[in-house]
């Protein structure tokens, strides 16, 4: 047990001092701890997996060893890369379109009260319905090529961006807005220099959710329609019971998802620095 888990009646008395001590100790140790423990548990899980495979000997179609998955990644690198590129590019294209449409809709909805009151509840309602059910319809409308997947990806990642940006544009400090009005700032000035900086953290929170949704959207769409892409590779690999290959493709997909998410987080950091948020 760690020192923060104080027990007994002494806890109340020594708490503040204990917390301060623990705080300084943590700030020293956290840099190390934050990486060490997750890394150790990750390695432990991988080792456990390898151990189970070596000793319990399940069928390789059920559970291949992590080692053989790694070998599969290296051996099939060319094929995996050939399918990873369209998946990544299409997710990126869908996400980029979603940013444009999401931000534009948020600006319109915050500017016009009529539009906000009419559309916003419907946007919220759309959040709860299972949008994944609509993929076959997108295939029906836009064909089985990349367009239908990109449009679907845009469709599902649009919602978090739009909702978060609406919340962000509405979150500007009332005092700052009043100050701008008193200083006779134009509506455009107020928007770009007060509302937008206030909205940025919300926008990026939405964008992060959208980035994960974009990967989900593209993969499910590839399950349904594609003849290329990692989703297609996973599905065909599974139907051939080539589990090591499926896991290799999933690993590449995870790397792509993390790269997309990491890029968004990096952009957020740069922008936040720029606006001193």
């Amino acid at each position: 047990m760690l020192p923060t888990n104080l027990e007994g009646p002494v806890a109340g008395v020594s708490r503040s001092a204990g917390v301060q001590l623990a705080g300084t100790a943590r700030s020293l140790a956290s840099g190390l701890h934050a990486w060490l423990l997750p890394a150790a548990s990750g390695i432990f899980l991988l080792a456990l997996w390898q151990f189970i495979v070596v000793f319990a000997r399940p069928l390789p179609t059920i559970l291949p060893a992590p080692g053989s998955v790694a070998i599969e990644v290296l051996q099939q690198a060319g094929q995996l890369a050939a399918h990873a590129v369209p998946t990544g590019l299409q997710a990126l294209a869908g996400l980029a379109l979603a940013v444009v449409v999401g931000v534009a809709s948020a600006v319109i909805l915050t500017t016009s009260r009529l539009a906000r009151e009419a559309v916003y509840p419907l946007l919220l309602a759309f959040q709860i319905i299972p949008k994944v059910a609509l993929i076959p319809v997108f295939v029906l409308w836009f064909g089985i090529d990349a367009e239908s997947r990109i449009i679907y990806t845009m469709f599902i990642s649009f919602f978090p961006i739009s909702l978060a940006t609406i919340a962000g544009l509405g979150s500007a400090d009332a005092g700052s807005l009043r100050l701008c009005r008193a200083l006779r700032a134009t509506r455009f000035q107020t928007f770009t220099q007060v509302s937008v900086p206030y909205a940025l953290p919300h926008f990026f929170a939405g964008l992060k959710i959208a980035a994960t949704m974009a990967m989900i959207g593209i993969v499910v769409a590839e399950f349904i329609s594609a003849r290329q892409g990692l989703g297609y590779l996973i599905l065909t690999g599974a139907s051939k019971l080539d589990t090591a290959f499926v896991l290799a493709a999933i690993a590449i997909l995870c790397v792509e998802g993390l790269l997309l998410f990491g890029t968004v987080a990096l952009i957020e950091k740069v922008v936040r620095n720029r606006f001193a948020l």
Partner: protein, 293 residues
Amino acid sequence: MSIPVSVTASQTVNSGQLPPRRGWKRARSLWPRGGLGGTALAIRPIVLPILLLLAILAFWDWSIVYFDVSPKILVGPWTILALIREHPELLMPHLQQTALETGLSCLLAIVVGLVVGVVLGQSSFLRRAFYPHLVTLQVIPKVALMPLFITWLGTGAESRISFAIFMSFFPVALSTMVGVIATPPRFIVLARGLRASEWQILSQIRLPFALSYIFTGIKVAVTMCVTGIVVGEFVTSKSGLGYLIVFASYLGSAGVAFASILLLCGFGSLLFGIVALAEAIFTRWYPTDARRN
């Protein structure tokens, strides 16, 4: 936080007067509403979305006739409703299967999520070791694992239900963990002073305080559960609404596909409503004021 306001001093000459009327009216809309128009304004947020929805439906219906859209691509809203009313024998067995599987996986996901969340909330060692992995798992597209579940558990309901649990327990676990940690420490100190056991502290202080967090997670999980089951049905199934949607759209029967989608949306909203109702009941048991103090 510094907000850059690039308005030069010369523009502030007429300070002391109110800004011009036009500017005032414009800026008004940024303010929280109230006081301006009484009941006409109060019902607007309810009436406007309904009007818009009706307008969209009317336009949809009109454009089907006007542009002579093929029934393979899209059918009118009334055709969809008529299809549901006239052919329940076609749709209901599929709805029943999807509803049962979703309901079951929701319940199990909530249980698993609560257990994982409480364990991670209680043990800071486990939390530090596994929380980063949980966050990473949130970011990666878990849906890609669906074919593996088929390899492991076959094409029956087991694979879909376990996949849906796998998809949807994360939000419950994360929000429960955050909620359990976020309990105001003085209540815990008090309870320890009164020699409450760890279990008593958990069940009577930490969990009631975490309720709003937990329900936020469950609301996300419910939608993910439906998604999980439907994706499972896309890939594996020979029945269920997900199967029916894919099958009907391959056959070029947009009516059946849209009827299934409508039923699925209705069922998803129903589940969401049940969770919202449960939240209202639980919050009544543990009033919000008490939790806030």
